[in-house]
């Protein structure tokens, strides 16, 4: 893959990501996030992770983001611009994050061979790399425990979401708390 194409795609991705954190309108942020996730799917394909790329679009860009948009509209946040945080806070936060990003990127790019594959083509791949069959084989053998664990995680999430989001069956007045807002 030519460097030009990579840097072009990377630039688009970074711009979309910056869009997520800078657009005042949350709906715009959400749409930029969807864009970023799509771009990542493209990178996954380049990196020979075909199944992951498909899941990225179906689960992530699809299901998760719809949930986000649903909540945004449910709370009627559309056109409710986010008041920016204190300028000093923003400057400091951007500076810290930029320093960290630059530092980590330099370390990752810097020493040759620190990252496996480095700037080269990477390892020679077995047939079927990134496919469903190969992924499933690892998923259900070496990572069986982790797989079962995610099922529990989802169960907890479902129970938790119901507990928190469900309106109480009996309408009760909020209990008074002394010292509230004091």
């Amino acid at each position: 893959m030519s460097e030009l194409v990579f840097y072009l795609l990377a630039a688009i991705t970074v711009l979309c990501a910056l869009g997520v954190i800078t657009r005042p309108n949350p709906v715009h942020s959400a749409l930029f996030l969807v864009m970023t996730l799509f771009m990542l799917a493209v990178f996954y394909i380049i990196l020979e992770a075909h199944l992951v790329a498909a899941l990225q679009i179906i689960v992530y860009a699809g299901a998760v983001m719809v949930l986000f948009l649903f909540v945004i509209t449910l709370l009627n946040l559309k056109g409710d611009p986010d008041e920016p945080a204190h300028p000093l806070l923003r400057i400091v936060a951007y500076a810290v994050a930029a320093t960290l990003a630059a530092g980590v990127a330099i370390v990752l790019m810097g020493d040759a061979g620190v990252v496996p594959g480095g700037a080269g083509a990477g390892a020679v791949l077995a047939e079927g790399f990134g496919g469903t069959r190969a992924l499933a084989r690892i998923l259900f053998t070496d990572y069986l425990v982790a797989f079962e664990l995610t099922s529990v995680l989802l169960l907890v999430a479902v129970v938790g979401a119901v507990v928190l989001a469900q309106r109480e069956p009996v309408a009760e007045a909020p209990l008074t708390e002394t010292g509230e807002d004091a």
Binding site: L51, L100, G117, G122
Partner: protein, 100 residues
């Protein structure tokens, strides 16, 4: 030549863009989106390493992270909803009953 290291560097950039978003945004839904961005940056790193190593473990981990992200989204949005019911705001700046 573009290799896994480039993708790792890109993932680092995305990760800390997300981190900056968490620290600067006041809309809690957007803060949460920034966290999702960070998780995705980590995913990109896993996939890049998997490519570099030629093993698929990294891709399997991405599968778990996606599940985690879905679970987090469910709980997180429920938390935000519960909060919104009582306070009618999603502004992180207004959510500071608890301090000092």
């Amino acid at each position: 030549m573009v290799g896994p290291a480039h993708f790792m560097a890109l993932s680092a950039a995305l990760f800390f863009i997300g981190a900056a978003g968490v620290a600067t945004r006041r809309n809690i839904v957007v803060i949460f989106m920034s966290v999702e961005l960070m998780l995705n940056a980590a995913n990109l790193a896993f996939v890049a390493v998997a490519r570099g190593l030629g093993t698929m473990e990294g891709q399997v981990i991405v599968f778990f992270v996606m599940t985690l992200a879905a679970a987090e989204a469910a709980v997180g949005l429920a938390v935000i909803l519960a909060m919104f019911r009582n306070r009618q705001t999603v502004d992180a700046g207004e959510i500071s009953l608890l301090k000092w």
